[in-house]
């Protein structure tokens, strides 16, 4: 089977497993969306009536396959809580989460690559040791705490950036960026640590290769050896980690969106879980799962771009 077809089959299997598992997990959670909607004092008859209206009185698997059928035609259903179409809710929130994750990755890479390059110039040197300690320090810090620290530092103390909230790009690019700087720093300042350590380690291995020795022997300056010869072959693990870290980034985004009051997909999901809005949770998780698998699929493609040997092997198989 061609490589691309294999990837697609894998995508379908992953999605089926993820959606079925989510359906089961949310179903076994205690609580009931009918009570959430009708309030604490609803009569049992009213609760039963609403459950029937929402179709919640049918067996779980029947509901799941119903949902799956509609989802395959692009209809993720309507929120039990407020009747909003789930696809529309995701589309409305997606730009915020995407911007947050892209900016966080830019922050992470913007710190990780220069720090890794500077560290390997003298492994075990002062800069290397300081950067390693800083990386472990940031890695150990929970993002909800880092977020609050950044708010107090940059909003309250220095009065430079807004503490919370989101401004859409349609209301001005700078205003938009301003509202996203602290949230993306919160995610990026934790994310860079792993990227830096991985890249540093790969760079150290690459720097021992013969072609680096050759480049040095040719008299190329150290920065050119690092940037032009060592960086590219050292970035495979980095790219793999970037792809896999999307999962962690989405998890982090749920918390960061909550702290900074950003109207993103993470907050939509959290609200859905609190309200036992199964259909909203299901649609959002399915969407995130597709996103995760597609991004990792693109990461695999990127190997081929970076290394012709990978391309060759893939085309042969």
């Amino acid at each position: 089977m061609p490589w691309l077809a294999r990837q697609l089959v894998r995508l379908v299997v992953v999605l089926f497993c993820v959606t079925l598992l989510t359906y089961m997990i949310v179903n076994i959670l205690p609580g009931d969306v009918a009570i959430v909607i009708l309030g604490n004092l609803a009569t049992p008859e009213d609760i039963a009536g609403l459950r029937a209206d929402l179709g919640l009185d049918r067996p779980m698997l029947v509901r799941y396959f119903d949902w799956l059928g509609s989802a395959l035609s692009g209809d993720l259903g309507r929120s039990y809580r407020n009747g909003e179409p789930v696809v529309q809710a995701i589309i409305d929130r997606l730009p915020v989460s995407l911007q947050l994750m892209v900016m966080a990755q830019v922050v992470a890479l913007g710190i990780a690559i220069p720090v890794a390059l500077l560290s390997v110039r003298r492994p075990g040197g002062l800069f290397d040791r300081i950067s390693a300690s800083a990386a472990f320090g940031f890695l150990a810090m929970p993002n909800f705490m880092l977020g609050i620290v950044l708010i107090y530092l940059f909003s309250v103390s220095f009065d430079l950036l807004p503490a919370t909230g989101f401004t859409p790009m349609s209301e001005g690019l700078w205003d938009n960026l301003e509202s996203m700087i602290l949230p993306s720093l919160t995610l990026g300042l934790i994310e860079w640590t792993v990227l830096m350590r991985v890249l540093r380690s790969d760079l150290l291995t690459t720097l021992k290769e013969d072609f680096i020795l050759l480049a040095r022997a040719k008299g190329l300056p150290p920065w050119r050896v690092l940037l032009q010869h060592a960086l590219r072959p050292s970035s495979f693990t980095l790219i793999t980690i970037l792809g896999l870290n999307i999962g962690g980034l989405i998890g982090g985004a749920v918390i960061v969106e909550q702290i900074f009051a950003l109207p993103g997909v993470g907050r939509l999901l959290l609200g859905g879980i609190f309200n036992r809005d199964l259909i909203l949770v299901q649609g959002t998780v399915a969407f995130i799962a597709v996103g995760f698998v597609v991004i990792n699929f693109l990461v695999d493609m990127l190997y081929a771009v970076l290394d012709p040997r990978v391309r060759h092997v893939r085309f042969r198989s």
């Binding site: 909607i37 004092l41 909230g165 109207p263």
Partner: protein, 507 residues
């Protein structure tokens, strides 16, 4: 008989922060105010939303209004109704509707709209859970300016009940809601001081000054934005930074900090109702009065509240609260006495083991842990059972619990809650309490048009409830808002809602 002549009690409302010097200055027109609330809004159609959180009431009271209003002292004031007058026994109330009021789309507001609103909530087909509290049979509109409330029996509490903004009492245009269908929930139309402009889910709701508002001087502000800011530290930081000018707050650390900050003002409201610990009188061993009394006497309510809320939450010996206007000289409360509690348990003669069902939240667990520690001193073992909020509600309503945590919400009149919680025939009486004298007193409280008689009935009632140790009162309903120092004119935070119709910025 005009209603205003016999307000129910003089209310000693605690309204710290609504200071006299602020009122001495005349209100200034203009400005845009942003309010930070805890959660996003359920929507603005009571049938679709089902319940309104205090965040939603804050937003909804920008564009919706009630028939009557309450000032900070608890006096009734006219709003969409000019007056409400009962018949001889209080079984029929007639509301005179304010003329020349218009909905925001320009159509006239009439008595028929009032009737449509309440009849829609009362219709069982619409499954509006709040109807359990409404003692209304139906509402009729004989002419455009008269709405007649036919009650299920004599009822003294109606005008006050209708005066506090809630999902039930904020009047919506049913005709417009039906025309707009599902969209109405996100695009509300009202008669209120502000006109709905925009709601970006989880981000902000924007409302602008209603230039055609019936109260010509108001509102003072040009624009109000309500932003859901779920993280309390980030919400407080937004206020300190000045991104928002008012926040609803419940985190003791932030309130204590704000009280020391000269750029901020803390508004505090101790409402009616209380945080409570219901005991299931139908279940062993709590069906024995000695065990319930032992639990009551072993619980150090005041010390616990001081520890759990840094001393911010007052503890009373009744669930009425200062804003209800009911002050009982003798509540018959059992005093904290672990030694006496131990003797009662010894007298009972069997080991006592209880399970306390609480919400699986830090607040729920902390409350249960101090309860557990207190009970241990009296020789009572307590197992803590943390569950989801909806599971707790289910267990409470099906009486499938021994001890739990609950709240009697802050309402302008105590009747709806007291009747629902303690009358033997009430479906919400989940302690399974059955006492003929209590039933009689609850009926006096509900039906008597003599305020002194009502007050006396509620004081007699509390003595019985305290002696029988049915529910334990663990703390008052207290709400806080913090504002920038130049924000003026925010009234009492009834039900935790921040209302800004009269708000303005001091220069």
């Amino acid at each position: 008989m005009a209603l205003f002549s016999r307000r129910f009690g003089l209310v000693a409302a605690l309204a710290v922060g609504f200071s006299a010097p602020a009122l001495a200055q005349a209100p200034v027109r203009g400005g845009a105010l942003t309010i930070g609330v805890e959660s996003d809004f359920e929507g603005f159609d009571p049938i679709r939303a089902g319940v309104y959180s205090n965040s939603t009431v804050t937003a909804a009271s920008l564009f919706y209004e009630t028939l009557m209003r309450l000032d900070d002292k608890g006096n009734l004031l006219p709003a969409l109704a000019l007056s409400m007058t009962p018949n001889e026994d209080g079984s029929v109330w007639t509301a005179k509707i304010r003329p020349n009021v218009k909905w925001h789309d320009g159509t006239p507001f009439t008595a028929q709209a009032v009737a449509d609103h309440f009849n829609r909530l009362l219709d069982p087909a619409n499954r509006f859970a709040g109807r359990a509290y409404l003692a209304i049979e139906k509402v009729e509109a004989p002419d455009d300016l008269t709405a007649v409330f036919k009650m299920r029996g004599p009822n003294a509490a109606l005008p006050r009940t209708l005066a506090q903004p809630t999902v039930t009492t904020l009047i919506i245009p049913v005709k417009i809601a039906q025309e707009k269908g599902a969209d109405y929930n996100r695009n509300p139309v009202g008669t209120g001081p502000f006109v709905f402009k925009e709601w970006r889910a989880a981000d902000r709701l924007v409302a602008e000054r209603n230039p055609n508002y019936w109260d010509k001087d108001k509102p003072y502000l040009d624009r109000v934005t309500v932003r859901p800011l779920p993280d309390s530290d980030a919400r407080y930081a937004s206020l300190v930074k000045g991104d928002v000018q008012v926040i609803w707050e419940d985190r003791a650390e932030n309130i204590v900090k704000a009280k020391k900050d000269k750029n901020l003002r803390v508004l505090q409201w101790v409402g009616s109702g209380a945080l409570v610990i219901p005991l299931n009188t139908q279940r062993e061993p709590l069906n024995d009065k000695r065990v319930r009394q032992a639990v009551s006497m072993a619980l150090n309510r005041k010390a616990n509240a001081a520890v759990l809320t840094q001393g911010l939450r007052p503890v009373h010996d009744d669930p009425y609260g200062p804003s209800s206007g009911i002050e009982c000289k003798d509540t018959g409360a059992l005093k904290y006495d672990p030694e006496a509690a131990r003797k009662l348990i010894a007298d009972y003669g069997k080991p006592v083991k209880l399970t306390m069902t609480v919400t699986a939240t830090p607040r729920g667990r902390e409350g249960a842990q101090v309860f557990q520690a207190d009970m241990k001193k009296a020789g009572i073992d307590v197992e803590i059972k943390p569950v989801d909020q909806t599971q707790l509600v289910k267990e409470a309503l099906t009486r499938d619990f021994q001890v739990t945590g609950w709240r009697i919400i802050d309402l302008a009149d105590v009747d709806p809650q007291m009747f629902a919680n303690f009358h033997s025939k009430s479906p919400i009486n989940f302690s399974g309490y059955n006492n003929a004298e209590v039933d009689r007193l609850l009926l006096v409280g509900r039906t008597s048009l003599d305020e002194n008689k009502r007050k006396a009935a509620y004081c007699d009632l509390i003595k019985i409830l305290n002696d029988d140790a049915v529910w334990l009162w663990s703390g008052s309903n207290i709400d806080f808002a913090i504002t920038r120092a130049n924000v003026r004119g925010i009234p009492a935070l009834r039900g935790g809602a921040v209302q800004v119709e009269s708000a303005w910025f001091a220069k």
